[in-house]
Amino acid sequence: MTEFDISRRAALSLALAGMALPASAQPAAGIDPLLYGPTDPNARRGGRITVGNLVEPPAMDPFRQAADARVRVSVLMYQGLFFEDQAGIARPLLAESATPAADGKSWTFRLRRGVKFHTGAPMTSADVKYSYDFMRNPANGSPGAGDLSSVASIEAPDDHTVVFHLAKPNSALPMTLTNKYGAVVPKGFLDDANSGPRMNEISVGTGPFKLKQFRPNSVIVMERFADYWQPGLPYLDEITFAAMPNSAAMVVGLQSRRIDLGVFSRPQDTQALANAPGVEVHRWPSLDQKSLDLDCNYAPIKDVRVRQALALAIDKKQVMDASIAGYGKVIGTMVAGMESAWGVPLDQLAFQHPDLEKARGLLRAAGHPDGLDIELTTIIGYDWMDAAAVTISEQLKRIGVRVSIRKLDLGVWVRNLRARDMGFTFNDWGTVPDPSLLFFRHFHSVPAGADFRNWNNARADALLDRGQETADPAQRRAIYAEFQKLLAEEVPTIMLFSADKLTANRTRLKNYVQHGTGWYFGLAKAWVEG
């Protein structure tokens, strides 16, 4: 297994993407066959499966619950207007087509007909307007509100059309209206103060599966939604997500046929399954990144030359081998899953390959002929960071940088991050496959962005603004290429690698394609044999 399982499919979808781009301009005819991944012509209906789940969602509310564990499962029950295809294309999901106005300041979405909610009611434009209005109002406490801050108003001229009016053009709007936060739910549902808890008992989305039972700390059961709008889908009758205590139990469960599918958080954990009969292990490219973040206000690394020196002393491959046993892909400035669509080749980016002489020179020029002391932060519970921290402190020692490792509780770490006081730290985060959604919030200066690293770079701001406003794909690509070169040059972050997503399944489960986010989209098109 040297190549990704997805490579062939990715190539296919990229080719299709080339035809479909700009996705926005042409109304797609019928239903996109690549929604939720490729379709298997041999697929048959029926069957139940058990999926081992290593992280449990605390609650099911897609509007107010940010936990990734919630997103993983809720994408099967709730839908946004678009599907975030891994290749960076927003495929129309509940929308049928998307048309931006000439000035880019409004988008008109035609809605799919014949869509029903799990409640039985038909979906109309009023529901769409209601749902997105709820989400973008910060007082409602949705973590997705920030992404919709450019929306000025939403209008529903007829039952099957909604128009989003924007304060400024945003070509990433379709990708924003995907499935991470929020969803289209029946109008009025969220008015009830008890609506959040209600969603732990019933699902009110439009997705292929509906909630049958949610027992926190234990199981989530979803059943096939008979009135689902994609003809023939989904194939599975029922999915049980079982909370797994640890990855060893997951491996045992797969071997003994108790579990049909497991997504592993650490690639090494699948080693025990390499020769297990009846179990397949797959590697998939990821949209997540393991990175080193550099707070540009943190005294030792305030000088850009010091940051560049650090970048030049780090051997990313060695760090990856040490921390995830090599099960991943070294990256430059783009997560592995989006590399082919949006990345800049590593040899065109500055400071990607170790050069100790140059690094020492930069440190001297910055006034540190004898090196310097620095504190490197790791987060408790993220195992890969421990090995990475030791490896990096060894690497930095070679240019006279003395590292002391500080371990923080996740809660404290998040508080520091939100206070924009992150220092020199490891980070582990994911994205929806669009460069604007990947970069804007993290790197645009305040107040438009969050600028966690206090980079505050005017050129970066200009590029991020233009990238968001430009509709033409080729131009966008050029803008983000320029941005990435700047990012590599200025080093507010050192993206180290993307760890592969590893899945293992019983062979009776067919056509499960793992999405790069780690979410369970693939179950909409998976089926069981016999």
Binding site: P58, A66, A67, P138, G146, R215, P245, H442
Partner: protein
């Protein structure tokens, strides 16, 4: 205290103060700490444990559901430990000083020394390697699917029961040895009573009283052990509820569950005291 629920909910999604404030207000975290606690005590006194911050469900319901799981595990463990541990202890007591006694004592010491979670882990791996078997990890209650329910309980109960069996056996052995050395037993023996009568009519009868007290202790011990074993085997009981509540900073749930645990422990102690009075003739009025 490191972090709160709002930080965990918002994560890296931005620094939008409005959303943060809205959420803080929603959870009542904007009030001073003493008022938060005061309100909780006040509500608890009226029988209202509040609602989970994450799930919005009434804490009473969650605690009760979790308790049923814990009660099943604890009950099965207690039953198994009593049924195996007491006879073992009685036998060891009767034959004390013999090889069999030494073997039973060896078993007791190992049982008391082995970490419960370690044992559970070894059992899980062992069952998979030797029997190609594992418990179904998705929980089902005894009324939903009894077969699955029992399969899930086997390993946790075994790993918990070893410790308690050893504790029982050790305790009962000590009592028996002491009781059999007493004057009245010697007198009975001299009078030519059968060993059966000596051991079971007299010695065992007198051992019953301390045994009941001990059972209360064991039950409270099991309640503690369940916390670890529940997270090792993903059982949705009280221990998991407390642990996940602490990790997610869902304080109404943590407070409610702890309140309930204390309630159980106090009840057990009370019942033991009452039984003690009933069983021990000397304490009768």
């Amino acid at each position: 205290m490191p972090g709160d629920i709002v930080g965990q909910m918002l994560g890296q999604t931005g620094t939008d103060r409005a959303a943060e404030q809205a959420l803080r207000g929603f959870f009542g975290l904007d009030r001073p700490l003493w008022r938060q606690f005061g309100d909780w005590v006040g509500a608890t006194l009226t029988g209202d444990l509040g609602r989970s911050w994450y799930q919005g469900r009434a804490v009473w319901t969650m605690v009760w559901e979790a308790f049923l799981v814990t009660a099943e595990v604890a009950g099965a463990t207690l039953a198994l430990a009593t049924l195996v541990g007491v006879p073992l202890g009685v036998v060891a007591g009767i034959v004390h000083g013999s090889r069999l006694d030494a073997a039973i004592q060896g078993f007791n010491l190992i049982g008391l020394s082995a970490p419960v979670f370690w044992l559970g882990l070894m059992l899980l791996v062992g069952a998979s390697a030797v029997l190609d078997w594992s418990p179904p990890f998705a929980w089902s209650g005894p009324t939903e699917d009894l077969g699955d329910n029992l399969s899930i309980l086997v390993l946790p109960v075994l790993s918990l029961a070893l410790l308690q069996t050893a504790a029982y056996s050790q305790f009962v052995r000590g009592l028996m040895v002491e009781e059999l050395g007493r004057d009245y037993i010697r007198a009975a023996r001299a009078k030519g009573m059968t060993p059966f009568d000596i051991h079971f009519r007299h010695a065992l009868a007198n051992v019953m009283v301390p045994l009941v007290t001990f059972m209360g202790l064991v039950l409270i011990q099991i309640l503690g052990g369940v916390v670890i074993i529940e997270s090792l085997f993903s059982l949705p009981g009280l221990g998991r509820l407390i642990l996940s509540g602490i990790q997610g900073r869902d304080y109404p749930v943590v407070q409610g569950a702890l309140f309930f645990v204390v309630l159980i422990a106090t009840t057990v102690n009370l019942v033991v005291d009452l039984l003690y009075g009933l069983l021990d003739p000397r304490l009768k009025p």
